[in-house]
């Protein structure tokens, strides 16, 4: 009397898993920067996938699934921490402004040094850098995912990289590298 929808649902889940679960590590990397805690980051990714599955019938296959997942993740994150929405803090801007040059990034840095420099970076800069340099999202996608204007994305990237490179240059100096300053 009624169509057997169980089979349809099973197929739909298989499609979702095949298409979306490949991005778990990428989502987790950004979630880790957002939450700064492994457990919380895993929970965030888990909740993101749950929400995505519930809305999967609205997703148009063939469009940018990865950006869609990031967008859901930021929505889940923002709704959980309304007051903690990523925004520019004046103090952080002044840090970036005080750096008058873009020091080159030395080639031989240890992972600990890079990680420590990344962790020291204010989160407002850290997240766009993660999304752009590691996850290779376009400016437009970053603006959409973080719900900030595209101009702000560019400015945060520029200032974030400056800060990061200035930080990393210190390691280079202590290691005896000669930094060519502009």
């Amino acid at each position: 009397m009624f169509p057997d929808s169980a089979q349809n649902s099973k197929q739909r889940l298989q499609t979702f898993e095949a298409e979306a679960l490949g991005f778990t590590d990428q989502l987790y990397r950004v979630a880790l920067r957002l939450c700064r805690n492994r457990e919380k980051a895993e929970d965030l990714v888990q909740e993101t996938y749950l929400q995505a599955w519930r809305s999967f019938h609205r997703f148009e296959l063939g469009t940018n699934l990865r950006a869609w997942l990031y967008k859901i993740m930021f929505n889940v994150y923002y709704s959980g921490q309304r007051k903690d929405r990523l925004h520019l803090v004046p103090a952080e801007e002044t840090i970036a402004e005080t750096i008058a040059y873009d020091p080159p990034t030395p080639q031989h840095l240890t992972e600990e040094e890079v990680l420590a420099a990344l962790e020291r970076l204010p989160r407002d800069f850290q997240i766009p850098i993660m999304l752009a340099d590691v996850e290779e999202l376009s400016y437009r996608e970053i603006a959409d995912v973080m719900e900030i204007p595209i101009g702000t994305v560019m400015s945060r990237l520029h200032r974030g990289r400056k800060t990061l490179r200035a930080d990393l240059a210190k390691y280079a100096r202590t290691a005896g590298y000669k930094i060519e300053e502009k």
Binding site: S5, L13, L21, M130, R165, L168
Partner: protein
Amino acid sequence: MQKMDCRNFKELLDSYLCQELAVETNHAMLSHAEHCSPCRIELASRRNLRQALRRVCAEDRMSDDACRRLRALLQAEAAAQETVKAGWKERLGAMFKLPLARPAMAMVAVLVLVVGGFALFRWQNLNRVSALQLSEELMTDAAADHNMCAPYAKGETLHISKPETFMAFDEACLGLEDVLKAKTVGMELRSAHVCGLKDGRRFAHLIYKRDQEMVSLLVTPRDQQAMKLGQLPDLDTKDAGIQETHREELSIGAYQTAKRVVLVVSRLPNEENEKLAQTLALPVVAHLRQIEGQRAFLQWPRTEVIAIVKGGELK
């Protein structure tokens, strides 16, 4: 193609590193870096930074345990959705499979039809009843007209207006006293005239004397002002009935034809006035109906009285 300078180079650097540029632009970027030392250093520096960040971040992976939990959670969620969706369908399907389900549903359907039909009939009837209610103003005017004319009819002189007067007002009202001759045994005709009130409501007015009481029979057009809702609903013979009300010491009973209202007004108690209204007004109504081209009711169906207005309330 746009000339590649240091400014353009920096702007396009991200896209270059993401390998998003067209072949020509890529080539222009490399050519520029070859000749411009600061840009070359910048390119190398940015590439180093990207590689360093990727290297560091590549080690952050979801634990196998978390991945397993995620899959289990999704499957549980999908199953839960399926249960909810299938639940009501199964329950509904199961209902049809019960042995007595079909006869029971047929009975329910019949019951719904009967109750619904009855409710619809009542609702339509109620609408018809309220649509046929006469206006308070008409009743007040009839009472006022009786009060105005009755004192003059008490005198010795019998006053009958000229036929032209009735013709000018309403041809159908000419000779109503003759129509009522057989019904007014023991009553004395005192006046038959046309009169009117200040607001324009006009009546063909017959006044009889019964014992010491003056009884008015009034005929007036059934216009919009005569109706409570201000609209003129179609009137078939079944719908017409008496409507009664009071104005101070006066009892009023009213009947309708399609085009006219016939009222009986007196100081008699309500029940007596109602009987008198039947005696006097019904033959007039039958007469008017004939003229209006409708079938005459020789015997008025008392049971079909549909509205009795007392003190302005529909009962």
